[in-house]
């Protein structure tokens, strides 16, 4: 005859403790570990937004390039958060006033006349100029272990503010 023996509290704790340990080790800790990735992504996005805002407020395009190259706070902040940057790129995005057409100029290429303020594409409504920053970011979990780091393209755009001309060269500051 099969008899049922009531479980002792000690046994229940042992059984529950094991399950709890498994839960913590294999569910909670990996989840917490992985949850650092979206947080780091948000931090990277925030840093990119702030940097692009500052770049958009520069006097000249070359000044924006120099700012991106020389300022260390943003790359150091990202490095501190475990985000590795690959080939950060600066680009100018010009969109017609009606939003129908747009053009991207990167690698220090100058804007052709038709895309400049007052150019053919700025009639009848002026074009919208923005400066963009993008990079492939390698975002790792807190403890890498078996989790491969994710490579995510992070980008941010900010309006280019200085649409005037340089009295010295007569070029638009955006092309200098």
């Amino acid at each position: 005859m099969k008899s049922y023996r009531p479980r002792t509290k000690k046994g229940q704790v042992t059984e529950f403790g094991a399950i709890f340990s498994i839960l913590i080790c294999f569910v909670f800790l990996p989840l917490i570990n992985l949850s650092f990735m979206p947080v780091r992504y948000m931090v990277a996005q925030g840093v990119f937004s702030e940097l692009s805002r500052r770049l958009g407020h520069c006097e000249k395009y070359t000044e924006a390039q120099a700012l991106m190259k020389n300022e260390k706070w943003w790359s150091e902040s990202l490095a501190m958060c475990g985000v590795t940057l690959n080939k950060p790129q600066l680009e100018l995005l010009v969109t017609t006033g009606d939003g129908a057409r747009s053009a991207v100029f990167s690698g220090g290429n100058k804007l052709p006349d038709e895309w400049l303020p007052g150019g053919a594409n700025s009639v009848p409504t002026p074009c919208i100029y923005s400066i963009g920053l993008s990079a492939d970011c390698t975002i790792a979990a807190l403890y890498q272990g078996p989790f491969a780091p994710a490579v995510i393209k992070v980008s941010a755009h900010s309006q280019w503010e200085n649409l005037s001309k340089d009295p010295t060269s007569h070029y638009y500051f955006i092309n200098e």
Binding site: M1, Q12, L23, M42, H57, G118, L163, S164, K165, T168
Partner: protein
């Protein structure tokens, strides 16, 4: 025997029930722990996202307030026109002095006619300087008022209390007007008097650059511009303002705060700078918070073309 069996069954039932209760309890504990962990994670996430959002908003507000002030500075091109008038008035005094000297030498009888013209030109320079100071002061006052008004409009939209975050009203930490570094006056060198041109270059009043660069009078010279000779007592001051280049007028714009310098005394400002602070508390189960700071700066609209 029968009784014993019944008793055994009861025992079995009660132990199963006890075991079942205990298992249900386990799941409850695990659920509670899971829920607590997720809740804490969510509160941290919301707080973090909230801080990020509020910080961006504060920066946008600072830029917006600075731009509102900067636009007022050169409202209807008052600074640009004043600069043009000052430069031309200087030329008028120089020209009147030359005419007077020549008349005195060549037509001594007409000296009495030439002298009032010179006096009038000199008086007009004095009056213009007073008006320039009045316009500078007015521009500054109006810009400050515009910034304070914009701030008052904006600040009421901030305060909020959420379970995970508390945001106070922002405070105005600093409000300044000044000039943009490396920006000279909007007036191009006037070329009608060779001697005066040479004097201006020698004295360093003009940007001595080769074509196609515009030869602009320097803005905000510490001692102003003076005339050679007997009219050396008159001071002509030009404020810093972006010049129109090839009919392109520089629009008002937001800029980096570190480019704003204090305007020298008596000169009309051409840029505005504002600093805001905002107290924020996050609800992480304990009182945690801090103060966010943001600084915005903007440059005024550049000068229009000379009429």
């Amino acid at each position: 025997m029968k009784t014993k069996t019944t008793s055994g069954n009861r025992q079995n039932h009660s132990s199963r029930a006890a075991s079942s209760r205990q298992r249900t309890g386990n799941i409850l504990v695990v659920t509670c722990v899971t829920f607590a962990v997720i809740s804490v994670a969510m509160i941290i996430g919301y707080s973090f996202a909230g801080l990020y959002f509020v910080n961006n908003r504060l920066q946008t507000s600072a830029d917006e307030i600075a731009l509102a002030g900067a636009k007022k500075l050169n409202d209807r091109d008052r600074i640009g026109q004043m600069n043009n008038m000052v430069a031309r008035c200087r030329q008028l005094v120089y020209s009147s002095r030359q005419d007077y000297e020549e008349t005195k030498k060549v037509f001594p009888d007409l000296e009495n006619f030439a002298e009032p013209l010179l006096t009038e030109a000199r008086d007009s320079a004095g009056l213009l300087e007073k008006e320039r100071q009045r316009v500078s002061s007015l521009a500054e006052t109006e810009a400050m008022t515009a910034m304070r008004q914009r701030f008052d409009d904006v600040k009421t939209t901030y305060a909020m209390t959420l379970p995970w975050m508390k945001v106070d009203e922002p405070q105005l930490r600093d409000l300044k007007v000044g000039r943009v570094d490396d920006v000279e006056s909007n007036v191009e060198e006037l070329k009608h008097f060779g001697d005066l041109d040479k004097n201006d270059v020698a004295q360093g009043y003009v940007l001595d650059l080769q074509a196609p660069a515009m030869r602009l009078y320097k803005g905000e010279l510490p001692d102003g511009m003076r005339l050679p000779g007997d009219d050396n007592d008159l001071v002509f001051k030009l404020s810093s303002l972006p010049a129109p280049v090839d009919n392109t007028i520089a629009p008002a714009r937001v800029m980096l705060p570190n480019r704003v310098e204090p305007a020298t005394a008596g000169n009309a400002p051409s840029a505005a700078r504002v600093s805001l602070r905002l107290k924020v508390e996050t609800g992480l189960g304990f009182s945690s918070g801090g103060v966010l700071h943001s600084t915005g700066a903007a440059s005024t609209t550049g000068a229009c073309l000379q009429q």
